[in-house]
């Protein structure tokens, strides 16, 4: 999900109402129902699903809160319950958070579908979860007041207990049944910020212990009675079709249940179903499939870069044009910078390999998946199985990372799993994508070429900036295209450049989107990782030419409206006294970037060890608006910069030769390990009472330009081609 899309969706209005009920299980259930206007129905049409509760006040005192998001590391399973529990005055030690299944009520209040994307989970559900908490509390208080024959205003609450003025007290659990018969109150005011007990405080994650003792179940850990494991042999060239395969050899392995050709989103594959993973793997290895790849394009990295470079020399579809583009002609050659950048395809490779389990029963199906896009995946499964979405029960499984990879508009993994489950009717089947499938299977951050021509004014600041971006469109051909592609420009390709906060009087950005036979996808922060790299390394180069301090130069160039970036740069400056005491042969690099409405500035101390950048320290200043859980924000910043370093790793590239991906696993495509990440990362949060903005994606773009800016000081070279194979 992109910054541009999130703002265009702001206009969607909605009506919400609450419903309460008691149930056989006892206690109070509070459900939120959303009533969508017709204008919100640009997304796939949704069928009603039996609504489920957001809050369950159980008779045993547990407060069970449903999280309308996938948890895959970002901490939303703690942050949203914090907001609800705070307004509800629930006893935090009794709060249990669960990942909600796919259902209408759990749609993102702004996007209109159930998803994790655009770093919007806390930002979009901030009001929603506070409101649920406030209303639930009001009902429990009303129940107590009625019992004590006093006014609700005479009561106060703390840690799941209502207190009356004369020493009365009642636990929420005792009041739940009575509260379930009360009307839902409207317009309950939220707490004053000074009364918040959880929100704004450093609160440890709810899922820590289970993730430290092996008891946390992820999608891949699912085990159902009679379950089979399926692997799929995918074509070596995207979209190729199976010509032949040795079914007999595969079936000869004891435990193999079925071997058959299946259609894929593009091309075909061979599915192997067995009693366990290792059996399926061995059978898959013995298929010796032959493929017909004659009718599909064979992309080749070297050829693609040549083609992209050629395109970059011409103006593309215009994303933004301000001022006079001929102004560069009045600037002497010596004051011009012409820079061409290359970025390769990048795979996400989340730690938990992709998987989905489905049992098809003829008139219904059950799905277990760590999905970032439940609404869409559920519809895809239903379509594949010839069912209606409401006939598909879709469980959200804890996921081991994702970074965008579990949000595929074409639902290709779920479609494969459903195709296999359909044939094995009645049997639960777990489809596993091996790491090799993941590395070679596409859905990469697109490769890009950027070409930038800058004319520097007499004051040392950029007077003209002409920027051409070349890369595949992520959104074209998906249902997000209507929102994110305008004038032939995919907003995700130019985000971070087209909407830069640097005030450059003559500014022109255009884009070419060649169609290439490689599936592409958003990769944590989407277009920002390559755009921020280009902009922030060039700004640094200009600052160096102007012999200016990199922070002061940026502050001078930023528009007055860039409040968050200004606040971050100021806070960064306050916290980087260590700049002055770095050892010889170390250098400090700076970068700043705003994405998903969150401002971020970063300084890194770098040296060169064994011909690689060694990152001794990073200081980050971040402005995410109101910091719901500063501890999670700190973690996201620390982890996000490490993720961003992926694009600097010497083997941080997916390349293709004659249509085939050249890397197979993490030995060929190698993300950062502990020694590649900063040794320390200190995080400083700009104090703010503004509405929260996202924290998952914004740290990823800013780190690699900061590192490279430091390297440039050490070597005198500029780095415009990633990955960094040579320093």
């Amino acid at each position: 999900m992109t910054t541009a899309m999130s703002s265009s969706l702001r206009s969607i209005t909605r009506r919400t109402f609450l419903r309460v009920s008691s149930a056989a299980a006892g206690g109070l259930f509070v459900s939120l129902h959303l009533d969508w206007p017709a204008s919100a129905q640009q997304t796939p049409k949704l069928q009603a699903y039996p609504p489920d509760a957001f809050v369950h006040v159980r008779p045993d005192g547990k407060i069970v809160i449903q999280v309308n998001r996938l948890e895959f590391g970002q901490g939303v399973q703690t942050a949203l319950p914090m907001l609800l529990a705070d307004e509800m005055d629930a006893d935090w030690s009794q709060v249990v958070a669960e990942l909600a299944p796919a259902a209408d009520v759990y749609r993102d209040p702004l996007y209109g579908i159930q998803l994790v994307g655009g770093s919007g989970s806390v930002a979009h559900s901030f009001h929603q979860y506070r409101q649920l908490g406030a209303q639930t509390r009001a009902m429990l208080v009303a129940a107590a007041a009625a019992q004590w024959k006093i006014e609700p205003s005479q009561c106060h609450t703390q840690a799941s207990v209502v207190y009356g003025p004369s020493g009365q007290s009642a636990k929420y659990a005792e009041l739940a049944a009575a509260a379930a018969h009360l009307p839902v109150p409207e317009n309950i005011p939220f707490k004053n910020d000074s009364d918040l007990r959880l929100a704004g405080k450093k609160v440890r994650r709810l899922d820590s212990r289970a993730k430290c003792d092996g008891s946390q179940k992820f999608g891949l850990d699912l085990d159902l009675p009679g379950m089979k494991v399926a692997l799929v042999a995918h074509p070596p060239v995207f979209g190729a079709k199976v010509k032949s395969f040795d079914e007999k050899a595969a079936r000869a392995i004891p435990g193999v249940q079925d071997v058959f050709e299946i259609p894929l989103v593009k091309g075909t594959g061979v599915a192997v179903v067995a009693d366990r993973f290792w059996t399926a793997k061995q059978a898959c290895d013995r298929l010796r499939a032959e493929w017909d790849a004659t009718s599909v394009e064979h992309p080749d990295t070297a050829q693609l870069f040549a083609k992209y470079r050629e395109l970059a020399g011409t103006t593309g579809n215009v994303a933004v044009s301000r001022g006079d583009m001929n102004a560069i002609h009045s600037i002497p050659d010596a004051n011009r910078v012409v820079a061409e950048y290359e970025f390769p395809y990048l795979a996400h490779t989340p730690m938990e390999p992709l998987n989905t389990t489905i049992r098809f029963d003829g008139d219904g199906a059950e799905v277990w998946a760590g999905s970032q896009l439940q609404t869409v995946d559920r519809i895809a499964v239903a379509e594949t199985l010839g069912l209606k979405p409401e006939q598909v029960t879709f469980h959200t499984e804890m996921a081991g990372g994702g970074f965008g990879r579990r949000a595929t508009p074409d639902s290709h993994v779920q479609r494969e799993a459903a195709t296999i489950a359909k044939r094995l009717r009645g049997t639960p089947v777990k489809l596993v994508w091996t790491r090799e499938d993941d590395v070679q299977g596409g859905y990469y951050r697109p490769m890009h070429v950027h070409r930038v021509e800058i004319g520097i004014g007499a004051d040392g600041m950029p007077a003209t900036w002409r920027h051409v971006v070349v890369g595949q469109s992520i959104l074209a051909g998906t249902f997000f295209a209507a929102m994110g592609v305008q004038n032939g420009v995919d907003s995700t390709a130019v985000e971070g450049t087209a909407d830069t906060h640097y005030a450059i009087p003559n500014f022109h950005v255009s884009a070419h989107h060649p169609a290439i036979n490689v599936p592409v996808l958003w990769w944590r922060s989407v277009g920002h990782t390559h755009n921020a790299f280009v902009v922030e390394t060039l700004i640094d180069e200009l600052a160096t030419r102007a012999k200016a301090d990199p922070i002061a130069y940026r502050l001078k160039l930023l528009s007055p409206g860039a409040k968050k970036l200004r606040a971050c740069l100021a806070l960064l400056q306050e916290n980087t006294a260590w700049h002055n005491s770095v050892p010889r042969n170390h250098a400090v690099g700076v970068a700043c970037h705003e994405s998903f409405e969150t401002g971020l500035a970063c300084a890194v101390e770098v040296s060169i060890e064994n011909k690689r950048p060694r990152i001794h320290r990073a200081t980050i200043a971040v402005d995410p608006g109101f910091a719901v859980n500063p501890l999670t924000i700190e973690s996201q910043m620390q982890g996000g910069v490490s993720f961003g370093i992926t694009q600097l790793m010497p083997k941080g590239a997916i390349t293709l030769k004659d249509g085939r991906v050249e890397q197979r696993n993490w030995d060929g495509y190698t993300p950062p390990y502990i020694k590649d990440a900063p040794v320390t990362v200190d995080v400083h949060i700009v104090p703010s009472a503004e509405k929260p903005s996202g924290c998952g994606e914004p740290p990823a773009p800013v780190i690699s330009p900061a590192i490279v800016n430091a390297l440039s000081q050490l070597t005198g070279k500029r780095y415009r081609r990633l990955p960094l194979t040579e320093i």
Binding site: R204, S208, C212, D213, P350, S642, F643, D667, P672, I674
Partner: protein, 154 residues
């Protein structure tokens, strides 16, 4: 298929498996102990780390045939180990985990490190933890947690 007698977390377990089956899959699918994770299958990420005969080992590349009588300790039982318990507690108090998928392996490697080197330096930590991949990038907090655990054990 062959029958193997394994000593897992102090208990004798009997499994029937193809001899080439990696220990990882025997643990996960035959013994239903899913705390040990599959990440790559080629010993590149460390998510499958167990202690085999006391040595941190990538169980994804050890065929069950080669395990023999060496005792196996997995994440499920590491809290029974005094160092293991302290490391787990440090992981929780430092709020290390994010997605958490690699953390079983990280903890198994960290426990082995602290058993061998009670006061590890940053370099010791990098050397011992150098093969454990974390895509969420929790490395900074992993370092902190190891140092916290070392202090508590010392």
């Amino acid at each position: 298929m062959q029958t193997f007698k394994l000593i897992v977390n102090g208990e004798q377990r009997e499994v029937s498996a193809d001899p080439s089956t990696p220990l990882l899959w025997v643990l996960r699918e035959d013994l239903k102990m899913t705390g040990t994770k599959y990440g790559c299958g080629i010993a590149s990420c460390g998510a499958c780390t167990v202690h085999l005969g006391g040595v941190p080992t990538r169980s994804c590349v050890v065929p069950v045939l080669l395990v023999g009588s060496r005792p196996i300790i997995t994440i499920e039982a590491i809290s029974n180990d005094p160092v293991g318990r302290v490391v787990q507690d440090a992981w929780v108090s430092e709020d290390v985990v994010q997605c958490g998928y690699c953390q079983s392996g990280q903890i198994m490697s960290a426990v082995a490190l602290l058993k061998a080197m009670p006061k590890p330096t940053d370099k010791d930590i990098e050397d011992s933890m150098g093969g454990n991949l974390c895509r969420c990038g929790t490395y900074v907090r992993i370092r902190q947690a190891i140092k916290t655990a070392a202090r508590q054990l010392g």
